[in-house]
């Protein structure tokens, strides 16, 4: 600032916005401390303003004031509003996302535990002496397991009891009663007869339809993760 001095014409150039920023600041400081100079600057601005008004040009009729009005009153869209937020708000959102992630993850873990617990319930009553008795007897159910073990290795489970019903009808066993039993044991298809009633069959031997099989094998391939819930909820 010490390098500057007020020169003739500087106030006029300031009013015209034609001074560099440093000199502008220097003159503003001078104006703050010199009322006479300030009055002079005011007079220059006033005359230039009057000059502009005298030489104003009527706006053409085709000028779209509505468009202008819409532009200045336009409410910012979601992204703009987000970008305008302070860093504090960003931090709050980030923490919120982490918290939600934690809750979500906890939910999944809890769900997994439930499923595991459920699958334990489905472990055969032969071993645990479960109070829900199977209506066809233990020897017949072992035969059913053997039958399904062979059948489902050759063809995917179709999400129904077609093969179980075939076995029951071939052996003249009560289909209706057995299906009620399966329902109580949360067994909903042929492959679940093996998976949920017996613990002696490896889970990945009985693909439950092509798509599910693909998902399971894909998951196993990438992270060696076996989604238990897929077996128990289909």
């Amino acid at each position: 600032m010490e390098n500057f001095r007020l020169e003739e014409g500087d106030l006029e150039l300031l009013a015209l916005g034609r001074l560099d920023q440093e000199k502008e600041l220097y003159i503003y400081e001078l104006l703050d401390s010199d009322s006479k100079l300030k009055k002079e600057f005011e007079a220059i601005q006033e005359v230039l303003e009057k000059l502009s008004f005298e030489n104003g040009i009527d706006i053409p009729e085709k000028f779209d004031f509505e468009k202008l009005y819409m532009k200045v009153n336009k409410k910012p869209n979601g992204i703009t509003r987000f970008l305008r937020m302070s860093y504090f708000k960003y931090a709050a959102i980030f923490i919120g996302i982490l918290f939600l992630g934690y809750l979500y993850n906890s939910g999944i873990q809890t769900g997994k535990k439930d499923i595991l617990a459920e699958s334990k319930v489905a472990v055969p009553d032969i071993a645990e002496g479960n109070s829900i008795k199977n209506p066809i007897g233990n020897s017949e159910i072992e035969k059913l397991f053997d039958f399904l073990n062979v059948e489902l290795r050759e063809k995917s489970c179709k999400g129904n009891f077609k093969r179980t019903e075939y076995f029951l009808s071939q052996n003249k066993l009560d289909i209706t009663e057995f299906e009620k039993y399966l329902s109580l044991k949360k067994v909903h298809c042929d492959c679940q007869v093996l998976l949920n009633l017996s613990n002696r069959f490896p889970r990945n031997n009985y693909p439950h339809g092509t798509r599910i099989t693909d998902v399971i094998s894909l998951l196993k391939q990438f992270n060696n993760y076996t989604p238990l819930y897929i077996y128990s909820c289909i």
């Binding site: 003739e8 015209l16 034609r18 220059i44 303003e49 502009s52 202008l68 200045v72």
Partner: protein, 183 residues
């Protein structure tokens, strides 16, 4: 429209703006649009371009009006300088230079060569009115170039082939003469 008297005082207008008055923008526009359009049109010399830039200028003014500092000068001084700078930026932009309809390019060298011709055209088409008419030709010329056509003092000193100090003295003299005519 009365081009001299404001429809609302600057202080009242600013108060309305700060209070987020719904009609404040319309008042701002009614008060200053013709004066600002006059500045823009005299630089661009194209009605469509000038209207487009007027839109842009008002949007920028409105977006920045809360940053306007009354202690640094009058509202119109701030608005007109913002508008003039925006217009000069447009003239200098590559898009504008390539504009098919514009033969005139605000390039300093071209402006210097074509200065006299351009000035004649300007006076014929959009001659200045009011108090400026009482000034000497030289003072009219300087005010027109610096205030209405957006020339920098250095460009104009070059064009007139006079030292920068001399130009500043003449500019000051021209504005002083104007002030006498207004009183």
């Amino acid at each position: 429209m009365d081009k001299v008297a404001l429809k609302i005082s600057e202080t009242e207008l600013l108060e309305r703006i700060r209070n987020a008055d719904e009609g404040a923008f319309s008042l701002l526009y009614k008060n200053y649009s013709t004066a600002l359009y006059g500045i823009i049109y005299r630089i661009l010399k194209d009605e469509d371009e000038a209207m487009d830039l007027l839109q842009e200028a008002f949007v920028k003014i409105w977006k920045n009006i809360m940053h306007y500092d009354q202690s640094r000068g009058r509202l119109f001084t701030w608005m007109s300088n913002l508008t003039r700078n925006l217009t000069i930026d447009r003239i200098r932009s590559a898009d504008y230079k390539n504009h098919e309809r514009q033969n005139y390019v605000r390039d300093n060298s071209i402006a210097a060569i074509d200065g006299f011709k351009h000035n004649q055209i300007n006076t014929d088409i959009i001659g200045l009115k009011g108090s400026i008419a009482f000034l000497s030709d030289e003072h009219q010329y300087i005010i027109n170039k610096v205030y209405f056509e957006g020339f920098t003092q250095a460009d104009l000193a070059d064009e007139l082939n006079i030292p920068l100090g001399t130009l500043k003295t003449r500019l000051r003299a021209a504005i002083s003469e104007l002030r006498k005519n207004f009183i």
